[in-house]
């Protein structure tokens, strides 16, 4: 099991801003240690970041080539049995609840396919009912007819649950721990099964053992006041998973909190400098993991990050239920920042000298 306590201790013992020379010495190493990573997370020097960004670009191109993979999320249901203060779908948030009918699911998928996507991320709220699982399974069966690569972002499932979905064609699981700080975790997850920190932490491994090949983990930046520690622990979690399961394809996301209708809590702002640092330094430590950036981020920042470590981007996302086949006024999980169409994003990627990819896997 991921040793959270030991890694937290390592972080606490090494938080110290490095001198500029020390930071430059770290950058000259071929392989960074975990302590080096902590030091860089605590270094705000722009010259150091520029040097690191150049290296991050070189490494990313060496492993991924001049490619940016584009994906799209489809929210199929906003039913949720957990109450989390940072999420628009919280069961404590009085919004209209909807689950797309299976006909609507198909209609949405056809619309997404028409946009040129070959990969789909299916999302639901933390609906841990039997009915919710069967519904997800039915949606996945429909997705299999259109997409060679299907990922889900739902509440944690059991080994058997993941296994059933893998047999239906599930390829990837996105499951963010949100925060690795136990006190914060408890404070922001008010009710429901999501309150169980370790159930969520262990579910990732259940998914891997069941045969899921692509894993995406992350922390929601701004939940914990010590967001650098959260970044460190997310990366250590990823490193642990890679060591234990060397055949998985691991991606990391650093979503920043975005507003939603009915939002009523204070969070820690994470500025662009910190955000870019996390991406660049993560790339130096873990050279060939995927790094995701969603439409939570603005278009300028997203464009600027092409080539600096990012390998995957969502495009033309709708964060309410459905919304691709026809306009849907359903409440959104969060407000997006980059509202460009997929073709506009594609042009932007091309103008940077990169190739947009729409297929990351072939259904076998």
């Amino acid at each position: 099991m991921f040793n959270l306590e030991e890694m937290s201790k390592l972080y606490e013992e090494n938080i110290k801003e490095p001198t500029k020379d020390e930071a430059i010495d770290i950058l000259s190493k071929e392989d960074l240690s975990d302590v080096d990573f902590i030091k860089l997370l605590n270094c705000d020097d722009l010259d150091v970041l520029e040097m690191a960004a150049r290296e991050a670009r070189r490494i990313t191109e060496a492993y991924f080539g001049k490619n940016i993979f584009l994906y799209i999320p489809l929210y199929i249901s906003n039913y949720c049995s957990s109450g989390c203060i940072y999420c628009g779908y919280s069961c404590l948030n009085k919004i209209e609840r909807r689950r797309l009918s299976l006909d609507e699911v198909e209609e949405e998928m056809r619309a997404i396919k028409k946009k040129g996507f070959n990969s789909i991320l299916l999302l639901t709220g933390e609906d841990d009912t039997k009915e919710g699982f069967e519904y997800l399974k039915s949606a996945l069966k429909i997705a299999k007819r259109f997409f060679p690569e299907i990922l889900i972002e739902t509440g944690p499932l059991t080994f058997e649950g993941y296994r059933e979905l893998v047999e239906e064609g599930l390829v990837g699981v996105t499951l963010y721990q949100e925060t690795y700080d136990l006190n914060t975790y408890e404070a922001v997850h008010l009710i429901g099964r999501k309150r169980d920190f370790y159930r969520r932490l262990n579910a990732i491994e259940e998914a891997i053992r069941s045969g899921v090949r692509e894993i995406n983990i992350g922390c929601l930046l701004g939940l914990s006041t010590d967001f650098k520690r959260d970044v460190f622990l997310t990366i250590m979690h990823g490193k642990y998973l890679l060591k234990k399961y060397p055949k998985i394809e691991l991606s990391i996301s650093f979503p920043r909190i975005r507003p939603f209708e009915g939002m009523n809590f204070c969070y820690t702002k994470v500025d662009d400098l910190q955000f870019v640092k996390f991406i660049v330094y993560t790339r130096l430590l873990l050279k060939n993991i995927g790094i995701n950036i969603s439409t939570r981020e603005g278009k300028e920042l997203r464009d600027n990050l092409i080539g600096l470590g990012v390998t995957k981007m969502s495009a033309e996302s709708r964060t309410g239920v459905g919304g691709y086949a026809r306009d849907n006024p359903s409440p959104k999980q969060f407000e997006i920042s980059d509202d460009r169409t997929v073709d506009e994003i594609l042009l932007s990627i091309k103008s940077k000298g990169y190739n947009a990819e729409f297929t990351n896997w072939v259904m076998i």
Partner: protein, 255 residues
């Protein structure tokens, strides 16, 4: 300087990977300008069911496609991907790539052998990507693969031929062609591989991520041709001391 491999007569000893290039149009230019006969294509990119660009549309008909199983985690997946790849591309050439390590992207030789056994029986021309291990190469030769493709150094590292002695052992001891794949960062690395007696080199990252991939492909082509030519002539041995042009001990033989 043409040679026969996988049942085809090939002129260019430079094989090129297509997965890391900045756009698909450039593939045509590379093939034309650097006179490439063989390119590798990952099955997942040979997509025929969508509105987006299909890499296959950018590869001339006369170019040989070597389908790549990258992404496969074991021999079962590799075999399935190979079968799908053959259907999508109509090409019988399959590069078996099964990675077992996510840090150094090293191939899983054991799973690769299993996949090759099945694919040879299925009638493929099989090109396994392996760590430079003579025992594994011999086993693959016995199975009936068309060539072996040992790595020069780990994928994407540009470090060149890091295990020269191991590569030499493979080249010297097996009869099937040896294609050096992965880790070749500069033309001189490729020339070195060819001087050792490799039949061809497969280059991806060093061309794809160059500022001018077309020119870089040409540079690699020249290096590979030079290395091969030198190998065929017979490379002179390196010596510790200079050779005097007139014998120094000739007087003892009355010279």
């Amino acid at each position: 300087m043409s040679f026969v491999i996988g049942g085809k007569t090939i002129s260019s000893r430079l094989f090129v990977g297509t997965g890391k290039l900045p756009n698909y149009e450039i593939i045509r230019d590379i093939i034309k300008e650097a006179q490439i006969d063989v390119v590798t294509v990952a099955v997942r990119r040979a997509n025929k069911n969508g509105i987006r660009e299909n890499i296959l549309d950018y590869i001339p008909k006369e170019t040989v496609i070597m389908v790549n199983t990258s992404g496969a985690r074991d021999h079962r997946e590799a075999v399935k991907i190979a079968l799908i790849g053959r259907e999508l591309t109509n090409s019988n050439w399959i590069k078996v790539e099964i990675e077992a390590d996510t840090k150094y992207l090293l191939p899983d030789n054991e799973e690769t052998i299993k996949a090759c056994e099945i694919l040879v029986k299925e009638g493929f021309e099989v090109f396994p990507y392996i760590s430079p291990d003579l025992v594994v190469a011999k086993k693959l030769e016995d199975i009936g693969v068309s060539a072996v493709m040992p790595l020069g150094s780990p994928i994407g590292t540009n470090k060149g031929i890091v295990a020269k002695e191991l590569l030499k052992a493979i080249i010297n001891e097996i009869k099937i062609p040896v294609i050096v794949d992965a880790g070749i960062g500069r033309p001189s690395h490729a020339a070195e591989a060819m001087e050792l007696g490799a039949e061809a080199c497969l280059i991806n990252t060093a061309i794809a991520t160059a500022k001018d991939p077309v020119k870089m492909a040409k540079a690699f082509k020249m290096a590979i041709d030079s290395g091969r030519m030198a190998f065929e002539i017979g490379i002179l041995k390196e010596k510790e001391y200079a050779d005097a042009s007139s014998p120094l001990t000739g007087f003892l033989r009355g010279v």
